[in-house]
Assembly symmetry: C2
């Protein structure tokens, strides 16, 4: 008989085993199987706009193509295929590299792009930003993990995470051996912040011997779609300062806002606007990406983090750790430059860029309405309006019969519901349990990314399934 | 007074603090400063070919440009700028994606590229490869870290690493909280494997309560440049099988071979050729990348790992962890496809591709000779021939006067030497202590990447500095 493996499921790193990541969990795997079998699947499990038909913007992609093939710019025919400002912009970025996109950059990213990001932040917030405190990363997720890795020392270190949350946080905290301290968003007030709950969770965690070191918030929210008020952000900042907690601001959806009452405001802007010692003391790390907004360039893996009031030696330590992987991918860095420095009025490519980006954002805004209205038209389903980001997170009130059937099938009730939905309609969602939900409530998460054309049919198909499901499982148990 | 930081240098993760990474350490930082001040620096600290003037190959970059800007293929003028097989290849890769290069791929990478890699491995080794056991990563470094993360459970888990080593290994093992168990290569026999030392290091580690779980080897060697014999690989495999150790094969330099006696042979091929139970039992993970070879596409961050005889549930666990970062960058994945499936004779782009790649490899071979000969012409310097990879690792015999001067300056002797070299010549190297070296010996690591034209002048400049340094510090101490 063969000896047992060294890397046996029972003998690998416990933290690896304990980590779970629902966005690509059981539902995604089943959906992938069904797709292989020929079933048409609508993947709404991940915010992956291009996979659902969103077209990339022309100008940034022209620049990216020229950066990959700079020799095209020596060809007299180049202007037949490329806009003049795309050519000059490609030269601009190539001049920042140490040998084109095939050369490693500094491990923090290209200094020139970090400078452009600092200018973008200054323009957005009205407060200066230091490029030395901006690191570029292979997508925002990697940046989050780099910071958590420095923050978390052992299982007694806790990080506050909103529930429902984006599972990047639960997965990374588990993998790094820390403790997730949940704080609950108020579903009944459109997933708003509940500072009373936040304070009580901190107190409970401390009673249990946890050192609360970090607080994550996501604004606009994932999976909950809410946009935080300036007042809420101020409360978070004051609380973190008072309780000596580092604030991690996940602001990757800052361009994805579908209401006009609460436009996006960055935590950095609120902090700096508060003035006084707090504005120079609170430790804040903010994250952004090319994957969301109207670019939706997920596959390019371009993200950045900005550190505010972080100890200079800690900045150095993060630089050292980033160095181990040498450099983030260089084209993703250039895409970041293109995101923060779009064509301006008067530029050759401006009209097209403006039209393309406006069309995407307007359509997302419409889809946010179609989707949440569609959910609210279903039996036993209630959904807050998707104010921002790319997701809806409706509550599904499952009848006792459904809960019993799920138990009999050995599944969590929301998993059971989502699997039935997938088999019946091809709509691939993620069960709320992957994001966290109050005990006894059940949710599903979908993206609002299926195309505007397809969405009415998709919502009708959802309604047919849901209402049938509710009818079936609302019958007395004896009749099932 | 401001309260102390939450993320204070004294209160962050100890493993982060303990990690060191010499390739971008003190010497690199000083070189960057000097460069800012206007000094001409020759960066030989990192194997970053394009930064030292190597041109990217035309065909892969044409394909990459079209993948970034697929709309070019709808333009009737496209054939003025792009080869017909570049167009068809771009369509081929785009068809593998779920929405172009802006969409996340599966977290293991595009199935189509993984299939092409499996075919490449089959052709290279003569043994089948399963695409389900191939994961694509943002450069090979990330793949190494993923596997080490599953392997290492706590500080009692040890990983054998050759000394001198590539500091990715020491840094990652420290960061993950494991223990590096060193085994020494025999410098006097061209950095060959010393199985007696290996066995004795395992015994010592076990006596100290360490569970030895992994063994890393690098073939061709970094920083040592040696090419392992088939016999050596067989010994490693037998030893790992007998001692129940997972073998990690860093084979990123497999195309960089500058002698004809020992062509590259993969660990997988040797293992499969051994037949019997061992070929089905030994746990092996092999790594490769687009960053080295004649592509040198470091900035694209494309790497893969192939798992052989790894427990299927462990493969699943690695998939789950990879999912947290969603997907490796997609263009890096396509570059991997281009690496393993180059144009064939008869293809439109073949002659150019063949000429470009041959020129690079032939020039690297010449540079390996110029550099090692150059070192051996210097006083107190001895250098093994760079049989493969991209580095030379000469031993520098420092006179007692130099060691005393280094001590007085508060520097390790090799750091002292490298700093003086940098200030005098602009040549940025890495001190041997960053890679590990036998107690009392001193080395420097350089890449062989400065251009063939520049290299004679660079080596002359090195010799002038070195011989002057040796003369200065060989004087009796009283005269210094």
């Amino acid at each position: 008989m063969a000896p047992p493996k060294v890397m046996h499921p029972d003998s690998i790193n416990e933290n690896v085993k304990r980590t779970s990541y629902a966005v690509r969990g059981e539902l995604y795997l089943r959906a992938s199987e069904l797709q292989k079998e020929g079933k048409k699947i609508i993947f709404t499990n991940v915010g992956n706009p291009h996979a659902l038909g969103q077209k990339p913007l022309t100008f940034p992609r022209q620049v990216m193509a020229l950066c990959q093939a700079p020799f095209l710019m020596d060809d007299p025919n180049v202007s037949l295929l490329f806009a003049p400002d795309a050519i000059s912009r490609a030269k601009h970025y190539l001049a920042m590299t140490s040998g084109g996109v095939g050369a490693y950059s500094d491990s923090r990213g290209l200094p020139g792009v970090r400078q452009e990001i600092a200018e973008f932040i200054y323009e957005r917030d009205g407060y200066p930003s230091d490029p030395e405190h901006i690191f570029l990363t292979d997508g925002a997720s990697k940046g989050v993990q780099q910071v958590l890795n420095a923050l978390i020392r052992n299982e007694k270190d806790g990080v506050l995470v909103p529930i429902p949350q984006y599972p990047l946080y639960s997965a990374s905290i588990t993998l790094l051996g820390g403790t997730l301290v949940p704080y609950y968003l108020k579903e009944e007030v459109n997933w708003s912040l509940d500072t009373a709950d936040l304070r009580s969770q901190i107190a409970t965690a401390r009673k249990n011997g946890i050192t609360v070191r970090g607080l994550v918030f996501i604004n606009p929210g994932n999976p909950t779609g809410q946009c935080l008020t300036e007042e809420n952000l101020r409360q978070l900042i004051e609380l973190c300062h008072r309780e000596r907690i580092v604030l991690l601001a996940d602001e990757v959806y800052q361009t994805n806002v579908y209401q006009d009452v609460r436009p996006f405001i960055s935590a950095k802007k609120v902090l700096k606007g508060m003035g006084g010692p707090i504005s120079k003391e609170l430790e804040l790390v903010s994250f952004h990406t090319v994957s969301k907004g109207f670019l939706g360039e997920c596959g390019q893996r371009g993200g950045y983090l900005e550190m505010t009031n972080i100890h200079p030696q800690v900045v150095e330590e993060l630089y050292k750790v980033a160095s181990i992987s040498l450099s983030p991918n260089v084209t993703g860095q250039i895409m970041l430059g293109l995101m923060v420095k779009p064509p301006k009025p008067g530029d050759h490519s401006y009209p097209r860029y403006a039209a393309e980006s406006k069309a995407i954002l307007e359509s997302l805004r419409k889809r946010a309405h179609i989707m949440t209205d569609g959910f609210n038209a279903c039996q036993n389903v209630e959904c807050n309006f998707t104010e921002g980001a790319m997701y809806s997170f409706p509550q599904v009130k499952l009848p006792p019969g459904a809960i019993a059937a799920a138990k009999a099938a050995g599944k969590a009730p929301d998993v059971f519901y989502c699997l039935k939905l997938l088999e019946a309609t091809g709509i691939s969602t993620v069960p709320g349990s992957g994001f966290g939900q109050k005990e006894g409530t059940f949710h599903i998460r979908t993206t609002i990314l299926p195309s505007e054309q397809e969405m009415p049919a998709m919502m009708a198909s959802f309604k047919r399934f849901n209402d049938g499901f509710m009818a079936q499982y609302s019958k007395p148990a004896s009749k099932l």
